[in-house]
Each structure stands twice: as C-alpha cells, then as structure tokens.
Symmetry: C2
C-alpha cells in the first residue's frame, strides 16, 4: 500500500515472559514500593532492522511491561506503589520506536497500538480496582509514547533541569497522533485546557519545569538534588491510599505450557484449532473438571492452577497470539465444553470471596481478558451445542459474540444459565455488563434474564433474547456452515468497523474514547500518504529529506 510497509512482521510473537528473562526492564522491590526501571537494550528489538535507542520501545518491550504489572498484582500483594522510571540518565523514554513504526505494516501498527493501550489501561485498572498506585518518576526527557506511559500513572513528577521535558511530538514530527491514549488522557484525565493541549501537541521540544505543572502536564517538578527523595516520599504517600493487603503470600504465575502445532494450540482449559483455508479458528474453553477450591486459603494454595485464573490466562494468551500471528483468521468460533454446573460452582466461589485480594485480582483479570475479546478485530460466533458449558462466566463468551447459535435437539437437550457473574461484575469497556449492552433498548429483559431461576432450554433462550438462533438438528450443520462462510467472504475492514460500532452500544468512557475515537482517527492517519506515503513524515523521519504534504483538508 505504501512505500513504508516493506518489512514483514515477526514470524511469531510470544506474550509469555518472566522477570528473569526481561531484556528491557528491571523490576525491584522494597517493601510496599516496587520500581519498574526502563533500560531498553538497543539491539534486542523484536526485529533486527531497527535499534531501540533512547529507551524507545517496540512490542517486545511492552510485553515485558504488561508481564511485570500482572506479576505485581498476583505475585506481590505487598506492593502498593509502583515507581515507573528509567535506568538511563537524562532520558526517561523516547516513545515508540519510529523506525519500527515506519517499517511495519498497517495491521502491525494498529495491533501494536492496541496492545500498548490495553497495557496502559491495565495500569489504570490496577489503581482503580486493586489499589496498586503508579508514580511516573521522569528523570529525563519523556517524549511521545513515553509521556503516554506517564499519563497512565496516577501521578507524574519530572526532574527540573534544563534538559528534561514532557512532549507529544507525534503531530509535528511524524504527522501521526499521540495515539496510545495521549490526546484523550491529556484533556480527559489530567484536565489540561484544550487550547494548551493544542499548543503542547504541536511543540516538538515539549514543556518543562514550572510551566509543565501549571499546564497540569505533570504534578510536580523537583531539582535533581531532591528528585530521589521526593519520589520516595510521594511513592510512600501514594502507598498510603492503597487498600492492598500489604503482605503475602502472593501466587506465582507459572508458564502456561501451551503446546503448539502448525494449526492448533492446546492449553489445559483452552484449545484453539485453526482452519486456514476457511479463515476460521475454533476456540474452546473447558469447564473445570471438578469443583474448584472454595476458600481463600485453598485458592491461594491452588495458585495459578485455580481454574478461573488458569482458564482466563490461557484465553488471554490465545487471543494475543491470534491477533499478532494469525491476521488472516477473520472469524473465531467460540465453544465451551464440560459440566456447566461446575462453572456455576466456580462463579459462586468467586462471588462469595470477591473481597479477598486474590479473588478480586482474578475477577478483574477475567474482566480484562473479556475486554480483550470485545476489542479483538475478528468476528465472533458462539456455538452452543452438545456437551457445552455456557453458564455464568462462560456465557460471557456468548454475550461477547456477534452472533450465537444454540442447537435445539430434543434428543440431545442442552441449556444455558446465567449467574451473578453476568450481572455487572465483568463489565465491558463502556461500563455496561454484556447483558445490559445486549438489551440496551430493553433493560427489563436484561433484568428478567438475570432474575430467571435455573436453566434456559433452546426455545426459552431464544424467547429471552439470549441467543440469536436456535436451529434444530436437521438445520444446525448447514445453518452454521453457511453463516460462517458468508461471514468470512465479507470485507474484513468493513466488518472491523461494523463490529467496533455495534459491540459498544450506549455510554462511552475514557477507555472506549481511546479505542473508538482516538484509535479510529489514528488508524485513518496511519494510512494517509502525508504520514506513510513516499514523501510522508513517518517515511522521511531520520532521513535528510523533509516531508512533503498534500495540504488538502479532509
């Protein structure tokens, strides 16, 4: 499509890592305070054709960041504040690596931004829901995506010297947007006045010192001599606002141990089967094989083998792999297997102990994973058929789907059931439960479904509006096949746009504004010749040529 998209993407990206293997971050602990020190290794990018200078980042750097935040939540309940800073002198972070962006396909850029957005929203989720506070300690220049990382923190402090500024230079330097939440957070979260944000968004050199505080871009500046102590004090103060338990034990997040073949990935509770000729993947989640651990102590002892956590970690991993590694798979068929009563049993345990720190973490992790599903640019069809376990939490998969099919066969009776987990515990990005989003025009029906005692058979589910179709045994196979074949024949771009509009009905939040408004505009710009064409700014960055623009306004 353009002169810039010459490189292929990495062959296969894994989203699993561990602090022992981090290349770009140092994660250290001092009681209630953890420090995430950014120290990006120039030569350790995911692809060899760019160097990660000046703490600039690519997806590999962000995968480590996401991992660190998850581990702090699960493995370190004693941590109440995370200081995000840099191990390099005079530079905090230069943002996303421009040469990486320039060499990437459109789809890679879009998916990279989506993952970084999810990671930063995950930090805000940790603060809002788990009492993990984040303090951005900007010890040097903080540009573009670096400042967007800081914006995701609860507080931002900046060293006050002649060098250190915060900036969003994307528009003037690269002709793209600060699209990792930057524009949205500046005005919506930090309340920077919109005209000052406009000035800031066009200033390559950024804003420093007292003015950065006056404009609300940072919370405080400190001279270098007082920086370390001031950061330590603010970190302690932030910790004082946390409701975390403050002591362990946490639980270890061990490797998932997925078995991959050419066209399948197999986890303990999740399977993915890829049919490349048909451009369809079938994702199956399995109910627990036995009743789950029922007390906080037993759940702690089970650790990452506790079914709700294990199954959703696997779901999260498989979704990320699919997004990055299987762009041609346009439709995901969502299935479940096992005993639905055991899912409902797990739901009951989660709801009973939701105030316990670990159960809380697990529920919020499930919530974030389901959001990841909502935000995946793939068509989602749920198949509710024999031996399925679409109950409670697993019924969220059907509610997340664009369409659902339930087999109506008297010889093989199947049923679905809701639980308290469908009532708002696992909200979408727009703040609604998937049930309320489904019945946005008819809230009483949502309430009736939630209040319904017991199971819904296929006709009851259809009448209650909980499934799209309920074909009988004769029609089932053809109807499902035809629907999938018709789906995968449509333009994937139009489907992405349609799904992004229909899935997020009703209210918007800062989160949906970032994905719906900011990302959609950024994606538009990521295709524009003024950014990525032969004379575009992203193409010409770092060369001796100046960008040349078509000045026509759209």
């Amino acid at each position: 499509m353009s002169a810039t998209t010459t490189r292929t993407s990495p062959a296969s990206v894994s989203f699993e890592t561990h602090p022992d293997r981090y290349r770009h971050w140092k994660l250290t602990f001092d009681g209630a305070i953890a420090t995430l020190g950014m120290d990006v290794q120039e030569d350790a990018g995911l692809m060899p054709d760019y160097k990660l200078k000046l703490n600039s980042y690519d997806l590999g750097v962000d995968i480590e960041l996401a991992d660190a935040i998850q581990r702090i939540r699960f493995e370190h309940p004693e941590v109440k504040t995370v200081v995000v800073t840099s191990m390099k002198e005079r530079i905090f972070c230069a943002g996303a690596n421009i040469f990486m962006l320039r060499g990437s396909t459109h789809a890679w850029k879009v998916n990279f931004c989506k993952f970084t957005n999810e990671t930063r929203l995950g930090m805000e989720d940790a603060s809002a829901n788990s009492g993990v506070r984040f303090l951005a300690a900007l010890n040097g220049i903080c540009a573009g995506g670096g400042y967007e990382l800081a914006l995701a923190c609860d507080e931002i402090v900046l060293v006050d010297d002649s060098n250190s500024a915060v900036s969003l230079p994307e528009t003037p330097l690269l002709a793209v947007l600060p699209g990792t939440g930057g524009l949205t957070r500046v005005v919506d979260k930090r309340g920077v006045r919109r005209d000052l944000a406009d000035v800031f968004g066009t200033l390559v050199e950024g804003v420093k010192g007292k003015r950065a505080v006056e404009w609300r871009l940072v919370d405080a500046v400190y001279p270098l001599s007082k920086f370390k102590d001031s950061v330590a004090k603010r970190a302690r103060d932030l910790a004082g606002t946390s409701d975390r338990p403050g002591a362990g034990p946490g639980i270890a997040l061990n490797p998932l141990g997925a078995m991959g073949t050419a066209d399948a990935w197999e986890y303990s509770s999740v399977s993915l089967a890829i049919d490349r000729p048909k451009r369809v993947a079938t994702l199956t989640m399995r109910a627990p094989a036995a009743p789950v651990e029922a007390t906080p102590d037993a759940i702690l002892a089970a650790g990452d083998q506790f079914w709700p956590l294990r199954a959703f970690r696997e779901l999260d991993d498989v979704l990320l792999r699919l997004r990055s590694n299987e762009p041609a798979i346009g439709t995901i068929v969502l299935r479940t297997e096992g005993d639905p009563a055991l899912v409902l049993g797990a739901d009951a345990v989660l709801l009973e102990h939701r105030e316990h720190w670990l159960v809380r973490e697990i529920i919020h992790f499930m919530k974030r994973t389901l959001k990841r599903l909502d935000l995946s640019a793939r068509s989602l069809f749920a198949l509710i058929d024999v031996d399925s376990a679409f109950a409670g939490t697993l019924f969220e998969l059907a509610l997340a789907a664009d369409r659902s099919f339930m087999l109506d066969d008297p010889d093989r009776p199947i049923a679905i059931q809701l639980s308290g987990m469908n009532g708002g515990v696992l909200p979408m990005s727009n703040g609604l439960s998937r049930l309320d989003a489904r019945f946005y025009g008819d809230p009483q029906t949502a309430k009736d479904a939630l209040d319904h005692e017991g199971w819904f058979d296929p006709q009851a589910a259809l009448a209650a509006g909980l499934v799209t179709y309920a074909p009988d045994a004769i029609d089932w196979e053809d109807e499902v096949r035809v629907a999938i074949e018709a789906r995968v024949a449509l333009s994937p771009d139009a489907l992405t746009g349609m799904e992004a509009n229909l899935r997020f009905v009703g209210p918007e939040t800062m989160e949906t504004k970032i994905f719906g408004r900011l990302s959609a505009w950024q994606n538009w710009i990521f295709q524009r010749p003024n950014a990525v064409g032969p004379t575009g700014a992203l193409t010409k960055y770092g060369t001796s040529d100046r960008a040349e623009f078509d000045y026509g306004r759209t």
Copy 2:
C-alpha cells in the same frame, strides 16, 4: 490514491436553495402536517457522470432536504409533524448514490457524509428542541442511506408487501459502513439487539414485515390498502405531542445575497477573506450596528434581518462553502468587529424571550451553526484585537477556537465579556458548554468566569484562562504570524485527528459517537483497498467483476 478517485469534485457548491427551485423534493403542507416527498430527478445530480436512480441521492439532494427542514422550523410554526416519504412507487430511497461515491475523492466522500450527518442530527434536534416530529413513511424499498434517513425520524412505518424492506447493505455490497449514523442509531437510538443488528448489517435484502417490527427496525407495518390512512393517523398522533405554536405567522428565510469574488465572500455581518498562498482564511463576524429588536413582535417583524439569525445564517453558509469549495485552506482565523455592548444587548433579548417559538428557533440555529464550526476539519485561531466584539455569543467563536490570541496594548484597550449565552444555552455536540469543555479539569474556573461581573482586560482574561496568549503590541504581529505559519506547515491529516480529539473532551453523546466513532471508522474504511482499491467492492460495484479482498484483519 486509488483507482476510484478519478473525478474532480463540483467546481463550486452553493448551499442556498428554495422550495420553488427544488429538483428532488416536494414540500407540501396540510395544517399541522407537512409532507416531504422524495422524487429525485435522475439527471439532476451535481455532476453529470452518474444518474440518481431509485431516489438515490448526492449532496445536491441533501442540500434541499436541509433547506426544507430549516424552512419548516422558521417559516411554518404551524407544522407539528413532517411526514418523510417518497413520490415514487415501490421505492422509498436507495441511499447515497454509489456511482457518485465511487467517483468522488476521499475528501469529498468524507465531507458529503459529514453534511448528511448534520442534516439528520438537525431533524433530531428539531424534534427534541422544537417539537417538530418526523414520521418516516416507507412506501417501498428503503436501503442504506435511505434507512439512515428514516432512523433520524421519531417513528418509522413500513408498507407490508412482498417487496418493501429496510436494509443496510453497505457492508456486504460495498465493503463500507452505514456511516450516516446508521450503525449507531440502530443500536443506540432504536435499541435493536446487537446480534440482530449484526445480522441486519450483513443482509443485502434487508428485513421486512413483522420481523422488522420485532427487531425494532421499524415501529409498525401496514398493508398498502391501509398505509395512507395509518400514516395520516400516526402523523396526527405525533402532532399531538408537539409544543409548537400551531399558527403563524412564520418568517421568511430570504436569500443571503452574499457577494463573492475570487478570494472573498461578503455578507451583511460576515466576511471571509481567503489567502490561498498562505492557506489561511480570515472569517470576521460583525456585531449588530444598532440595538436589536427587543420584543417578540418586533423580532417577528424583523424576520430574517434580526441580527442573531442573519449573522448566524451567514456564518453557517460561509462554513459550508469553505468546507466544500476550499479544501486547501487549513486554518481559519476568527475575528469579530463592532460594539460588543450591542452583542450583549442581543444576548439579553434572546435570553429574555427564549421561550418564544421564534427566539427558540434562532437560539437552536445558532447552536447548530457553532456545532458546525466545532466539526469543521480546519484549525481555528481566534484573534481578539482592536475594535473586536468578542462578547457573549460572539465569544463562543473564541471558545470554539483551538487557540486564542488577545492583544494587550494599553494604548488600545480591548476587553472580552461573557453573558448568559455562554452558560450552556449553546452546547457542543457532547452536551457541554464550550466554557465547561474548556475547563473540564477545573469546573470552578468555568463558574468563576461565568459569574464574573463586567469585562476582562487582556491580563484578566489570561489569568482567568479565557485566552491562550496575550501578546503586547510589540510582539503581537510576529507572534500571530509565526503561530499561523507553523500551523499551516503541519500535516493536515494529523491536525484533523488531533483537533477531533481535543475539541470533544469529556462525555460522549449519540451525536459525538456518530462523528467520533462511526465517522472515524468509516473514513478509515473509505481509504482501504478492500473498498476503494482496484479490486475493492466500491470500485467493482455495478460492473461484471466481483470484488477481491485482502482478507488480512487489521
């Protein structure tokens, strides 16, 4: 950019028309019921290379629709319901003309959709704020943009025969979105269940009869034999919910009489001077020359010469001309002239009589025009200097601007002042006053500014956060010049994206969702090869070739 954008746009589009000159609509009146009958003339498109078959439309058709709605509001206070229907048998409207879209530049497509969106939102504004109800009487096939027009109405009724269906076939037929509010209104306004909306959005043939009612796509269906009477009854019922005066006199909206030259347009209260080499236009609004009429009777007698109406009609017209006819003008400098006390006087009259139907219409028209300014994809800089009249309503121009500059020269003292018109009477699309949007992070400052008695001099305005800069006389010229030169040098696409994000801080509404989420995705898709490339669906529509897609998901 693509094989499809081969045609240039019309040389110059005028947005003024009159029912006597309509080519495509018949506007008739029967007491409280007006009928807008669509009867598009195939050979009367804005450009000669397409035929407007089957009541399909181009911008010219929509300009007449917008004109008709304005005239109903101002010229016909007796009208309480508008029946929107077709004069052709068996076809209501086939939507936007596909051959027009295919031959249009990207910018033309985007601006065409923006105007049609504004027109449909204007219908909803008329219903919500002026008691003008709209009834879509679908007497035949209603597809794509035709159904989107129906969605903008309060009620939709459909003839029940074997032929007549509603449909949104854009995704399966053209690989683009139902982008004139369609996707948003189906789920957000009409409350169609999202999975049914998903099915509907992929069904070329659409949905008809009882199922269309069950899915909430229409409010009722009637057999042809009962259609006319049922429509008449529903129109009367809707009229019963209106608070319109029900009797005249209305006021005539006469031609604006703008004088155009190669690089200027001159109206009675608005001037536009275009500097093409600099890619800047200066838009000046003039305060009334004398105190405005102060009683409803006098305002009715003044009619369209009443300054607030006249000045904002002129502003509206000049913005539309700029958008369509001057794509290379990236920055609009906003100025005012005259006696600001007379603006405040006009504001006092508007506020005192805002319950009167005509004053209400005028205020909502001013509101819609200012929204048009917010939604214009041009950088807006306000210059507050000698002899300016940035007070009350005219200060909204400065609040709409991305930046404002106020001259601080003791020898030529100038000042700004707020009025009650700045306090929420003229909200943005997101429901906030521009003052509240400006101080989204600091609501007390917004309140203080509104409560402030009397004028703000430049330093007071700066301290109150009401202007971005207050240069002194020595710096003024250079500072303004450098800022404008720097602005117009930036990528117009990145600026469009940045402005679209910074201007709409805080809450989102159905209106901002249509422009921010739906339009942004549509604009993305409007560039995608799967739609507009050599084998894209929009390119191949109506040919003997099938579209060929790149099935990679983004």
